[in-house]
Symmetry: C2
DNA sequence: GCAGATTATGTCAGTCGCTGACATTCGGCA
DNA sequence: TGCCGAATGTCAGCGACTGACATAATCTGC
């Protein structure tokens, strides 16, 4: 809103900083679409909200909506997508001394915590993402789309892990296996979250994730009956 | 076609064995739909096949198709659904001495092997299921639907494991975690299968699954660089 | 066998998600 | 100011899916 840059085409360091009016307006309508969709979804449910409603709430045509988002699912998952990207960023900057599993666990906890401390409310807030997760579970197509996104993220995790440890993911199966296991533990934690319906915020989610990670060893080894 | 039962309402043991003409015809058209869909999908791709085509190939109305299958994805995944059910059956009959992880691994191997040895070809054959898996990967909505099915299966696995070991899955997280890990290892193996494009049949898939399971321990523990 | 209750199926109209094609408007830039 | 390209609107259309109602087929008791 408050533009602090007087000259549109200014000093060299302005390159990429002030993206120009056109770019700003695009980002603006994109954010507006996400926000409007979010409000409508939480208000009246995902399936009972039509794309036309979202579009006309922002006063753009339906066609324009589909130029920003490939489908209705995408606008719903846009908020979570940011969080996922941030997690990847965290993973890339973990110290090399950590084991791969430690690095993954530390990254996801850091990602949740940072995002939780950052914006408290608004369209991109973490509480919004948590509300979204509840919604996902009872919208079949949305859940499906979300799972697909998760698997795409897993592929990235495989690549990052392989780079980090300096090995070829096609020869060594460990990156793929660990990425898959990591993703599945997270999903189990998420399911637990939506099922138990604990009202705590991001910190509640973090402890849930930690609890599930702690069960990884016990779940895999030996008999369970004492 | 050749009716060997002279009396429609026959002996007591006929109850549930001969489901009546109506029920038989239903099963018949259902099978025909699955088969026709399968042929069309593999021939011209999933997205380029319309429901109308499938329906008219079996000479029923589109509306009837949707009374058998909730959506286009479902008819594509119908074949794999049988295999999944059989796996659950295998898991239920594993000896109690095995650890949960051993039981899961043995069940999936047995399921693939039995189904591989059973019907060599036909609409419900295992080779069909393998062909399907290739198709799933490049049909976004289909992949999404498949992933959703997988998570539903995981919930069942959680229940079976909890019963088997006699504990409450809401208190003890191990069933949920192990089920999730198991599912993720399988998905990694499946991805590997579709990526490497090894032409071997069910046995190839089995060895792939075993190889991935063998990497579970190594992937989770310690550093990877020697 | 035969009415009458059930149940599967067909037909039709309609909604919604999504896409291609073309015209129009608006920001970027000389 | 005037041109270029990008963003948007409009329109027509396809395909997945659904509700409502009519029709035809099975099943049931007699």
């Amino acid at each position: 809103m408050a533009a602090h840059t007087p000259h549109p085409t200014g000093t060299p360091e302005d390159l990429g900083r002030t993206p120009g009016l056109r770019e700003r307006k695009k980002q603006q309508t994109r954010d507006a679409l996400v926000q409007a969709a979010h409000v409508l979804f939480l208000g009246q449910g995902f399936s009972r909200t039509t794309v036309d409603e979202i579009a006309s709430a922002v006063d753009v045509s339906q066609r324009t909506f589909f130029r920003y988002f490939a489908n209705k699912d995408e606008v719903a998952l846009a908020v979570m997508a940011e969080a996922e990207d941030y997690f990847i960023e965290c993973l890339r900057h973990r110290p090399a001394e950590e084991t791969p599993l430690q690095a993954l666990r530390a990254s996801i906890v850091k990602a949740w915590r940072d995002l939780g401390n950052a914006r408290e409310s608004g369209p991109g807030s973490i509480t919004s993402a948590l509300e979204l997760m509840r919604m996902i579970e009872d919208a079949p197509t949305l859940l499906a789309a979300h799972l697909r996104r998760v698997t795409e993220q897993e592929r990235i995790v495989v690549r990052v892990l392989a780079e980090r440890e300096g090995l070829d993911p096609r020869e060594d199966l460990r990156p793929a296996v660990l990425a898959a296991v990591f993703g599945s533990v997270l999903r189990a934690a998420h399911l637990s979250w939506t099922a138990d319906r604990e009202p705590e915020g991001p910190e509640g989610m973090i402890t849930l994730i930690e609890r599930h990670f702690d069960q990884l060893g016990p779940a895999l080894t030996g008999h369970w009956r004492t």
